[in-house]
């Protein structure tokens, strides 16, 4: 049989942008900035998503994603962690 290393380091892959958990304080600021009144207005990400598990976020957390872009170099995006 072929040899297998144990784990995939999801966050080191070049397709995966940087994910951060947003603090409660910043969360309020983000909601104010984008005029968000209901939590379901955020784009979502599953709690079972490999990147979410890698940073240890839980349902209800807001995740800040810094994407690489050809046009703007860096784009900030937010996703709310939801249960399956």
């Amino acid at each position: 049989m072929l040899k297998q290393e144990n784990k995939i380091d999801v966050l080191s892959h070049e397709l995966v942008p940087k994910h951060y958990i947003v603090s409660e304080d910043e969360k309020q600021k983000v909601m104010e900035k984008y005029r968000i009144t209901k939590m379901n207005q955020f784009p979502q990400i599953k709690a079972s998503d490999p990147a979410v598990r890698a940073i240890g976020a839980k349902p209800g957390d807001l995740i800040k994603i810094i994407r690489k872009s050809n046009i703007a170099k860096e784009v900030v995006y937010y996703r709310l962690v939801v249960e399956e």
Partner: protein, 376 residues
Amino acid sequence: MSEKLQKDYLDDLPKSIVDQIESVCAKKKLNEQQKAKLIEEVRKEYLKSMYQPGEAIGIITAQSISEPATQMTMRTYHFAASAGIQVTLGLPRLIEIFDARKEPTTPMMTIYLKQKYNTKEKAEEFAKMIKEKKVKYYATEVSTDLTNKKIKIVLEKAKKSEMEEIIARLQKSLKGFEVKEAQKSVVIQAKQDTSIKELEKLKKKVLALYVTGVQNIKNAVVVKEGENWVVKTLGSNLEYVLKMEEVDSTKTYSNNIHEVASVLGIEAARNVLIKEINDTLKQQGLNVDERHITVVADIMSLTGEIRAVGRYGVAGTQSAVLSRAGFEETIKHLVKASVRNEVDEFEGIFDNVMINQQVPVGTGMFELVARIGEEE
């Protein structure tokens, strides 16, 4: 726009523009005051070039992608007898991506190897190793003995260790049959009352039994890409390959969007989505601005899983009943909605067009509020 809203947007100029401002400042040796003025001017231009709130960017995106796509149908080529892997291209591939099929017709991986293994010989050895091998691959002769209900498979190609592997796997998967090893061959004894049809079925099953290699990888070729020797495979098994020691797990790529979503997450899948759409269009010589593709990818990945653009995905899960009914399968949606006592709030575009009301697009999205006596 209110003062406050303007300030929010002014605070985040995109990084590429900020970088350009910095480089101009350094080149022209501007002082603080001049720099502030430059930033002010750039911000003005940036705000001017942005889409206004309420602009129907979805429709613009749809038009911008579909118009070039109509040109694709007539121009699909096949590269006969070319080395490498045949991939689905052009319109079929584009439809496949937007439909978010679970398996693409030609799943493909590009495997990058670690520095240590980045030579032609090592890459070829690796390609040979990961190719999925079934019993069929080793078999040189297969014969069925119909009177004694026996299947004999001659395995000339198999080495001793592989032989053991094959026998072990056969014994594991064929319970109730007798598996005997003979000189460079395997004999499978079925029960006496087995019919000929069942015997044929058994033969097929045995030949398709997986022995070594990485499952699902049907072919692997070594290609030189710049400085690197990369392995391109037909068939993909990203999860397994990323765990292998030889593989550079930071770059290895698969074109199977759902697989990437489950192994690396939704954001990675979104990146693959953009890259695949872009590559498919570019390969056909079509030029679609990346911003349009980004809009599609964002909508497809909005809920944390990849949704198709169409009846079962983005359009079929809208909350407004009339929007859904107006798209496809009118009667089904109307009947279901009446049974479930659904309410349409008339917040969408489609439903408002239907009842001849002002649509929430552009200036129709906003209402004026007079604040009498309020001070700035």
